[in-house]
Amino acid sequence: MLAFLVSAIRLGMTFLFGSTGETITEKSGHLNLGIPGVMCVGASCGCFAEYLYLTAAKNSANYFLAVLIPIIATLLGGAIMGLIFSFLTVTLRANQNVTGLAMTTFGVGISDYMIAETGSIYSRGSRYFTMSLPFADDLGWFGEIFFSHGILIYLAIVIALVTSFVLSKTRIGLNLRAVGENPATADAAGINVSLYRYAATCTGCAIAGLGGLSFIMDYLNGNWEYCIDEIGWLTIALVIFTVWKPDFAILGSVIFGALYIASSYITGVSFASKEIFKMLPYVVTIVVLIFTSIRNKKENQPPAHLGLSYFREER
């Protein structure tokens, strides 16, 4: 049971990165279906940077650099993907769904290439990410649940809390939400819609990229054997599940993580029914989607202009 909870948290935090990133993006009115691709690219950049650093540093690798370098590389990789997305959808006014899917194709290609070419060289780097706090073992189950994780897990929570604060309590957050709800009004109020959309998408993609890094370096212990695009789609589901609130997402992501791995922890279930269990996160998301739309409560809705482009000339 304890092992189950710990792994649910570990996996959940991967989702949390993705969903926080996608929430920021969606609040600006961008439905970025390229998140799976972004996570793939982020992970590729981060893992490869880690590999380069460890090769260069040989035995004198330093913990902070070994963690910091991949994180920065991942952020950059994600942000570049965000930049491509924003350039195509904001500046060149392309359709968001199509652009997002093209990004997913691209990102999956990059990560499959990395897997085929570099495969299993990342387990050494992953040790830096799974290193837990020193006093975790002294605190029994409490320590196991709260302190036994690697650095990225805590980073995910911090980012989610900060995002939640920024979105709901600051001027920037208010403007961002205005852009997503009604860009024409926001524009009239003097908010630079394009700038906000660019910034939100790039920030969101950078954060989502960390999800990819965390999945490979932390959850898979560096054994990168399969493509992680499925995780990306789950994070899009998680955004809906948590009704666009990053602070809910902390709990929501643990629930998702638990649902995702439940099938391998539950005993007495046939091999076949486990596949039905894996359906749960998606079914739950559909139910949430239906309920929020039927109840039609204002604060639980998707941003009104989600997926729609805004061109000043076409008002």
Binding site: L92, A102, T105, G107, I115, E230, E275, K278, Y282, E313
Partner: protein
């Protein structure tokens, strides 16, 4: 210094030559960028790689058949998503709709293959696959019509429910427990003129014509366009928007079901979770790049399938990971998506323009 002012104006009509030129330039540019990326990643000569792509797609009659067959399947799914897209209903669930269509087909083949006479079996297969596709598409459509539930996200989730359903089916009904279903060609769709793919290709060719006429020449096609342009206008002129949404998704789902039938009954004679193979998503791009015109879709689906097939050859010729194809496809898509801007808008630059805003 004078301030450069520019503004962006929508074009009315683009000449055939101009649009061809822009697209050709975009593809050229994307090939250049891909060449740079390929060279950086692999240190191989990009021209050799491109010529191997052409060989991979057209190298032998078998390859050409497989190319056309793949175009047919992708085209069929693209046709399926198009009516929904014209209505601005973002059906991202083609993947799932195709899979359940295939699942229905394979179930009929497995459980009724022995007991039904062959013509009846084929009829039941068609019926089952179409029905399954319709059910999968109408569920999100119903909620969209009644409560405006976000259809992009809903259909996206339905994909994974379908994938897990197939996974469950494979684990539960395959006796050996391997999770791989042995192909059952004896219960497949009929083979005409000794060409296993010919029937699929003819079916899709007919469907292309039908969808073209349906969208351009019928009242229902017109209603779809009106709802897509403006729901309020549609309501104002007395179109029952809810009915149109559900009806269009019935069409969309039925076509996806047929794609599933073609894939399972006419091609693989078995099913796996990757039978649809991402085509449900690729189809969205095919349809959009063709401006929702079924005739242009033949071209765009050709482009995508050519890239996939060619890149497959590249990876065997040069011992490269097959993922190269996805990377190149992605880059080319970015460019094609981007170039649409220059077809729809023009940039007016006024050098000594006054500061108006």
């Amino acid at each position: 210094m004078k301030k450069m002012n520019f503004h962006i104006v929508k074009r009315d009509q683009v000449s055939w030559k101009y649009s061809f030129l822009i697209r050709a330039l975009a593809i050229l540019a994307s090939l250049l960028v891909s060449a740079v990326v390929i060279t950086l990643l692999t240190q191989k000569n990009p021209i050799a790689i491109y010529s191997s792509m052409i060989k991979g797609a057209f190298g032998s009659s078998l390859r050409i058949w497989s190319l056309v067959q793949n175009i047919a399947v992708l085209l069929c799914i693209s046709l399926a998503v198009t009516p929904a897209f014209k209505m601005k209903f973002w059906n991202c669930g083609a993947e799932g709709q195709v899979l359940v269509g295939g699942l229905a087909t394979v179930s009929v083949m497995m459980f009724l293959g022995d007991s039904l006479p062959y013509p009846a079996l084929v009829a039941v297969m068609i019926l089952a696959s179409v029905l399954a596709g319709i059910i999968w598409a109408v569920i999100p459509a119903f909620f969209k019509a009644m409560w405006n539930t976000n259809e992009t996200l809903f259909t996206l989730m339905m994909n994974y429910v379908a994938i897990q359903l197939v996974a469950f089916f494979l684990k539960y009904f395959v006796k050996s427990g391997s999770g791989v279903l042995t192909p059952m060609p004896e219960y497949g769709l009929p083979v005409i003129f000794n060409q296993p793919y010919l029937l699929n290709i003819i079916t899709v060719a007919v469907l292309t014509a039908v969808v073209y006429v349906y969208l351009k020449k019928t009242k229902q096609g017109y209603e779809i366009s009106v709802v897509g342009e403006s729901e309020n206008t549609a309501r104002y002129i007395g179109i029952n928007v809810r009915k149109v949404i559900v009806r269009t998704l019935v069409v969309s789902g039925a076509l996806c079901g047929i794609a599933g039938l073609i894939l399972v009954g006419g091609t693989n004679h078995t099913i796996s979770t990757t039978t649809a193979g991402g085509r449900g998503f690729t189809a969205i791009m095919v349809s959009w790049l063709a401006k929702f015109n079924p005739i242009y879709m033949i071209l765009t689906s050709f482009l995508i399938v050519f890239l996939e097939k060619g890149a497959g050859q590249v990876s065997t010729d040069f011992r490269l990971p097959s993922a190269i194809s996805d990377i190149v496809t992605g880059i080319i898509l970015f460019f094609i998506i981007g170039c649409e801007f220059f077809l729809q808008y023009k940039i007016l630059i006024s050098k000594n323009g006054k500061e108006n805003d």
